[in-house]
Symmetry: C2
Subunit: 423 residues, 2 copies
């Protein structure tokens, strides 16, 4: 099977999703759907479908497992090659191991060492190449020029059908669902969720959510067909495909209720919120749907039962640690400033007292005497402090400005609109 | 009620726990018990009881809710004062708000701003004082000298009874449970778990787990009564009481199957593992039980169904970020070294090539010329790189040593015993 023999874009049917659900039963986890604790702070009725709790941390397992089980014998013989930005690779490595299918994964060169390592531990051959999902795709096609291996892509109808089981689970777990918001990478999950949820509950609204830095779905909707957009670095790394899949787009077309484009700052906020309030780990891509709600993009869903799919939790610890720092900056909980220390022996003491009096917590202090554009007696201090919240940060900022008129702040930029969000 | 009127240490009964379960039903979350994904890497059959998923992120809610509901009328009138290192304060602030009971929490001075802020948002009056749980306790006693407020402590029989509901849930969710490992702070959770689980399943083994830096339970068992130990800074901050409660100890005495003392390095590893493999956020105290298994302290439980209580997830994002860094160092995934750069213009280039060839990822490079104990021509470089795992780190280390004989490494210390652990 696969989509290689199909001429026109393939439109997914509900029947295929139903078959997939039977096929993968017992092979993937029925993940919990839980009320978001964040609701206590917002006027929304949000539930989280936690597919980040799959064994390899993403809903990709559903698609991969379905394709693997359906083509088990052939795949065991020929092997599978999987170009991926991460989630598909991990899922394929794991289910390949379980089903005794030889798997080669092609990951971008920059994949964190721990993630490629995990694929190898699970038994896959790992190739690192290029920067984007497209690069890995081209590499896989070349490496497989003779067609000996089966090339697995998220746009494969069997993979899409597997994704659709997530939609069935949502409507089963919460029949009262009014709307589902779906993170968009190649569009396969969105396409499958539309088919599954609209079939089981025709009034259910389906929205997509993507990162503003790589708005491929919005561009495709505007153009009427998939178009390639440049992939620039962003927090929602798992969504880093440059185009929507042909089959996914054909399935989505005319049936999507709304497409949401989410700011980077709210992705950082959502990662922190899901960590601190829900105690769940999700990656930037995985929280896109929740981030859209937090950004205030869906006022029409106020009071309605909205399920946000948390599609993945494959964030490398190092990257998580950096996303937290970024997010704390965005939320006004980390603040950076540079200032000339007053030119007398109590200059540092005064600064330290100001920080302590306001109950800010010093995180870093670096002084510089040589490379500063001011007179030779001046010591320049670069300071990072932790503050309680945006209000505290604003107050502390004004107090510092009174004491040190030449102070410069380097808070992570948030525009006025973003003030609506949570911290 | 409370324990103020009791002369001798109070021994908790199962009946009180049963009453507590009825009393708090609907007021706290029945948290999931899930198979640990880490089992695929270990020869253990571990389940996690995720009380970090309570609304305020810890099992303290069970105890607080029971005490609040049982004494609602009196507490509404008099108000409650809660000395706490964090979890009890958050739980009291939340349930006080829900039950309209005025709550004052006393937290150590160093409490992260976001946590004290959260208590205030939930409607509690917040006082910051001292360094340890004992300091907050002494402050609360003084502030309440006239006895107008009710002082709430974890050693209160009603609080302990509430904790016991966690044990009932475990045996209900997994009747085949062979053993339960319980993180030990003041011992209230351990005492209550013993009473609940042994009553419902007399063959169930109960172990306690505490941090090696503050081994108050082990010392108490050796002495035959609670003794104060010094509280030194450690990763399991939530366990930072200096003594076991009198009532908890009286209940535990003679009924505990084993007490486990866990190394700091394995607490850091467990925090990272639960983040990366289970996609759950737990604090250092909350993962103590899992850390004990990872450290190889319980070989006798191999093949048995062991429930590790994940007691809390109240780790401040900033602290989480630092714990991750520490843990990456312990796991051989972050490595720091200092070296004299060869004294010619390609010195840095050579180093950069070595790093790139080994696929290590540069995290930080700081050079120093002035304050070094070597000849004046030398530039000293301090480098931090990310490596894939311990094996990779060891190999890379030996290669660097060959190239730069005077190199010095500053890996986070792990003794040989710790090598038994994961990754």
């Amino acid at each position: 099977m696969g989509d290689s023999g199909l001429e026109k874009p393939y439109v997914l049917s509900f029947n295929e999703i139903k078959q997939a659900a039977e096929r993968i039963e017992g092979g993937v986890i029925h993940t919990p759907l839980c009320e978001a604790k964040i609701c206590k702070y917002m006027d929304y009725n949000v539930y989280l479908k936690c597919d980040n709790l799959q064994y390899t941390g993403s809903c990709a397992e559903r698609g991969v497992r379905n394709a693997f089980v359906a083509q088990k014998e052939e795949m065991r013989e020929r092997g599978v090659i999987v170009p991926s930005s991460g989630n598909m690779a991990l899922a394929a490595a794991y289910h390949g191991g379980a089903l005794k299918i030889p798997v080669t994964v092609v990951l971008p060169d920059r994949t964190p060492p721990s993630q490629s390592q995990h694929c190898a531990e699970l038994g896959a051959d790992v190739i690192l190449f290029g920067d984007t999902l497209e690069d890995t795709m081209n590499y896989a096609k070349k490496a497989n020029r003779d067609g000996s291996q089966i090339l697995l892509r998220s746009d494969d109808p069997l993979v899409m059908a597997g994704f659709g089981t997530l939609g069935i689970e949502i409507i089963t777990q919460l029949p009262e669902t009014d709307a589902v918001i779906v993170p968009v990478a190649t569009g396969a999950l969105l396409a499958a969720t539309i088919v599954a949820c609209k079939k089981l509950k025709c009034t259910c609204l389906i929205y997509g959510a993507e990162c503003a830095k790589v708005p491929k779905m919005m561009k495709a909707l505007q153009a009427g067909h998939p178009v390639a957009v440049p992939v620039v670095p962003n927090l929602a790394q798992g969504l880093n495909a440059s185009t929507i899949g042909e089959n996914a787009f054909a399935t989505i077309k005319g049936r999507l209720d709304r497409m949401l484009v989410v700011d980077e700052a709210f992705i950082a906020r959502a990662v922190i919120n899901i960590l601190e309030r829900e105690r769940l780990v999700a990656d930037g891509a995985g929280v896109c749907a929740l981030a859209a709600v937090m950004q205030g993009l869906v006022p029409e869903l106020r009071g309605k039962r909205t399920v946000c799919i948390v599609s993945g939790g494959n964030i490398d610890s190092g990257r998580l640690s950096r996303t937290i720092q970024r997010g704390l900056g965005v939320c006004g909980r980390m603040m950076r400033f540079a200032m000339a220390l007053p030119d007398h022996c109590r200059g540092l003491e005064m600064l330290a007292k100001t920080i302590a009096d306001e109950r800010a917590v010093l995180k870093s202090l670096i002084t510089e005497q040589m490379w500063v554009h001011s007179d030779i007696g001046i010591t320049w201090a670069n300071v990072v402090v932790e503050t309680a919240n945006e209000e505290h940060a604003t107050y502390f900022k004004s107090k510092l400005r009174d004491l040190y008129p030449t102070i410069r702040f380097a808070m992570v930029d948030i525009d006025d609109k973003n003030k609506l969000g949570l911290q």
